[in-house]
Amino acid sequence: MAREAMEYDVVIVGAGPAGLTTAIKLKQLDPNLSVCILEKGSEVGAHILSGNVFETKALDELIPNWRNENAPIKTKVSKEKFLFLSKKSSLSWPTWLLPAVQKNHKNYIISLANLCRWLAEQAEKLGVEIFPGFPASEVLYKDDGSVKGVATLDMGLDKEGKKKDTYQEGMELHAKVTVFSEGCRGHLGKQLIEKFNLDEGKNPQQYGIGLKEIWEVSEQQHQEGLVMHTAGWPLDSKTYGGSFIYHAENRQIYLGYVIGLDYQNPYLSPFDEFQRFKTHPTIRKMFEGGKRISFGARALIEGGIQSLPKMYMPGALLIGCDAGTLNMPKIKGSHTAMKSGIVAAEAIVENIKNKADLSIYEKKFKDSWAYKELHAARNVKPSFSWGLILGIIFTGIDQILFRGKLPFTLKHKHADHEALKPAKEMPKIEYPKPDGKLTFDKTSSVYLTGTNHTENQPVHLKLKDPELPIKYTLQKYDEPAQRYCPVGVYEVQKEKFVINSQNCIHCKTCDIKEPSQNITWVCPEGGGGPKYGNM
C-alpha cells in the first residue's frame, strides 16, 4: 500500500537559519505558496549549535525592522582580542593587524538556537508550517529522475526493525521544489551530491569539528561584548584550529574550540584538546570558580568555494551548509547561509510562477555579496596546509595586502578521511585527567546536552562492513572513532566494536572522518538527539 502523501509548493528539510530564511522569504514574496519545514530536533533550536558572532547583513535584508520585533540579538561586540598561545604564555596580536574579515565591531554575540526559535515564530506568523520531531529520511524521485519530495521516517520500530505497537508509517511530502537545508554533512544532501554528481570538478569538501560550552562566570570575570580568539597551543602547527571566547549576556561566556578534520594523528581527540586548552594559564583564570552549564559539538564546513558543489538539481536546491556556504576566515556561516536562503526563495518563486530553470538560483547566488565574500576568503584555509606560521604569513599577504584578490586559487588536495596517518607512525597523545571543575569527561558532558534516543530503536549509525573496525581500523589507526567522537559513542571493548548510539549528538564527525568511510549517519527516530537550550 502506498504511503500517505501531502502536497506542498515547497518542502524545506531542516529548520536552521538557511531553511527558516527561505520559508520566510517565500511567504513574503508570495503569501499563497504553501510551505512546510521538517525538523529532526524535538523543537526548533534543539539541534542548533554555533559560536556565534552574528553579522546582520542577511537579516537586515530579510526582516529590516528586526530590532523592533524583539529579535534575540542584543549584545553588540564591544572589544576584540586575538591571542597566540604557547604552552605557558600568550601573545596578544594587535587588532589593527587583523584582516578586515576578522573584525567584528558591527556584529553581535548571539545564540543561534534562540535566533532560530525567533525566526520560526516569524515564519509561523506568515503561515509556514513547521514540524519538529519529523526527520526527513528519504529522498523521493519522479519517474524522470527529478526530486519529487521527501519521506519522513517510520516511527516505532524496534532494534531489529520490527514494528512495535506504536508503529507509525512515515509519510510522503511532495513539492514543486524541495529545499535541503540540513546543515553541514546533511545525510540527504550527501546522497543528492552523489546521485547528481554535484561535486564534479570540485575539490573534496573540508570539514571541522566545533565543540562548545557555555559558562556562567563572576561579574569580575565577565565583560559583555568581548570577543576573543586564540590560535596555537595545544594544537601542533600542522593541525588547523583555534578557540573562540565570546562574552554574552547574563554573565555567560560562550567558549568553543574548532579543529580541522584534516588532522593526521589518529590519537588526537578533539574533545580532549578542547578540555586541555582550558588549562592554559591565561584561559584558566577566565573560568576559575565559574560553572559550565551547557556542552555540545557539531561538524562545520571549511571547504569554501573550491569545494562548493553545484547547488541545484531537477526539483531541488541545496542551501546553507548542506551545500557549504560558511566563510572560514570570518569564522561565520549564518549570514551566508541566510543569504543563500533568500536567493533560493527568489529563484523558487520565479521557477513556480514563470517556469524559470532552477539554475537561476546558483546564478543569483554567484552574483550576491555572499559569494564575493567566499571568493575573497578562498585561499585562507588551504594555505594552512603548509603549517600555522606559513599559513599566517600567507593569509596576511592575501587578506591584508590583496584583500583576497590574488589571481590564483589554492586547492584542497585531500578529503578529511584520507588525512589520517597509520597509528604506528604517529605519537600517542596523553591527555590530562579531567578535574571536574574546569575540565570534564565525555560522560558528564553528554549529560549536559540533554541527549536521548528512544530505547530499542534501530541503530542509526550504520556500518557498511561490521567487521572492519576490529579487523582493519583498530590495527591500522587504533580505531580513531574512540577519540574523534566527542561524546564517546564508539568504544572498543575486548576486541568488540560497541556503538552507544543513544548518546549521539548528531555532530556527523564519524560520517566525515572514518578513514574508510565505513560509518554512515542516518536519522534516528524523530525528536531524538540533543536538546540544546541557548547554543
Partner: protein, 249 residues
C-alpha cells in the same frame, strides 16, 4: 461517556535542570518543554477507550500560560476531540488546580477525569486526590490497567505489596501510572487536523475560585553532588571502611 483529561506543560525529562542563582526557582527560558509524561499515558488511555467505542468524547484541559496550548494541541493530535485552556500566568498550587478542574467538571460533566499520577516538576501527587475529595467522587490512583464497565471502572493499581484491583463507581477520578500504556506518536496529518480542532479559552480569574497560594516557597537549591566512589582492595578493607568511615556496621 465523556472523559476530561488534564495535561501539564513541564520541562522535558531529558533536560538537565538549572537552579536560578538567587534560589527563586529553576531556569525555564529557552528550555525544551513537553507534556508531563504520565499525562501522556492519561491521554493515550482516554483515546484508546474512545477507539474501543465505550467513550464518545475526550476533552483535554491544561492550566497555565499561553504556551500550555501547545500541550493541549499535542493531546488533540493524538486523538482528543476538544481542548480547554485555562489561562493563568502565575504558579498555582495543586489545591488551586483542583478547584479550577472542579469548576470545569461541573460545566463539562464528564464521567471520568483522567490525569497523570503526579507532575515531574513539583512531584506533588495531590491534584487528583484533592479533586476527587472536592467532587465527592471515588478515586483510583497509580492506575496501571483500566477496564471500563457501564457504571463502574475496574482499576489495577501498583502498590507496595504488588498489584491491587479495585472497582470504583462512575463518575470517578483516575490518576495514571507510566506503566498503563505506551503513548502513540502524533502523525503529521493529525497534527494538521489538531490545529483545526476547537479550543476553548477561559481566564482562571473568571472562574470565581480562590487561587491564593497557601504555601510559601522559601528557597530552591541543587541537591548536594554525589561524591565519587572509591575502589577497595579486599573484603577486609570494605568492612573496615563500612565500620569506621561510613559507620553503618
Amino acid at each position: 461517556m465523556k472523559i476530561l483529561v488534564a495535561v501539564k506543560r513541564v520541562i522535558d525529562y531529558n533536560v538537565q535542570i538549572r537552579v536560578k542563582e538567587d534560589g527563586s526557582g529553576v531556569h525555564t527560558d529557552n528550555v525544551k518543554m513537553s507534556t508531563n509524561p504520565p499525562d501522556d499515558n492519561a491521554v493515550e488511555e482516554s483515546v484508546k477507550l474512545k477507539e474501543s467505542g465505550k467513550v464518545k468524547e475526550v476533552v483535554a484541559i491544561s492550566i497555565g500560560e499561553d504556551k500550555a496550548q501547545e500541550t493541549i494541541r499535542k493531546a488533540l493530535a493524538v486523538g482528543a476531540d476538544k481542548g480547554i485552556h485555562v489561562k493563568a500566568d502565575n504558579y498555582i498550587e495543586p489545591l488551586g488546580i483542583a478547584k479550577i478542574l472542579k469548576k470545569i467538571v461541573e460545566k463539562e460533566k464528564p464521567d471520568m477525569v483522567f490525569l497523570g499520577k503526579q507532575a515531574i516538576d513539583d512531584d506533588c501527587n495531590q491534584t487528583g486526590q484533592m479533586l476527587a475529595a472536592m467532587l465527592n467522587w471515588p478515586q483510583a490512583t497509580f492506575t496501571s490497567k483500566v477496564n471500563l464497565n457501564d457504571k463502574s471502572v475496574e482499576i489495577v493499581r501498583e502498590i507496595d505489596e504488588g498489584l491491587e484491583t479495585i472497582e470504583v463507581n462512575l463518575p470517578a477520578v483516575v490518576s495514571c501510572d507510566l506503566r498503563l500504556n505506551e503513548p502513540r506518536f502524533a502523525s503529521l496529518p493529525n497534527i494538521m487536523k489538531a490545529k483545526k480542532k476547537p479550543m476553548e479559552q477561559i481566564n482562571a480569574k473568571d472562574l470565581g475560585v480562590d487561587l491564593t497560594n497557601r504555601i510559601q516557597q522559601i528557597k530552591v537549591e541543587e541537591p548536594p553532588k554525589r561524591k565519587a566512589g572509591i575502589k577497595v582492595a579486599n573484603v577486609a578493607e570494605l568492612v573496615s571502611k563500612l565500620k569506621n568511615e561510613a559507620k553503618v556496621l
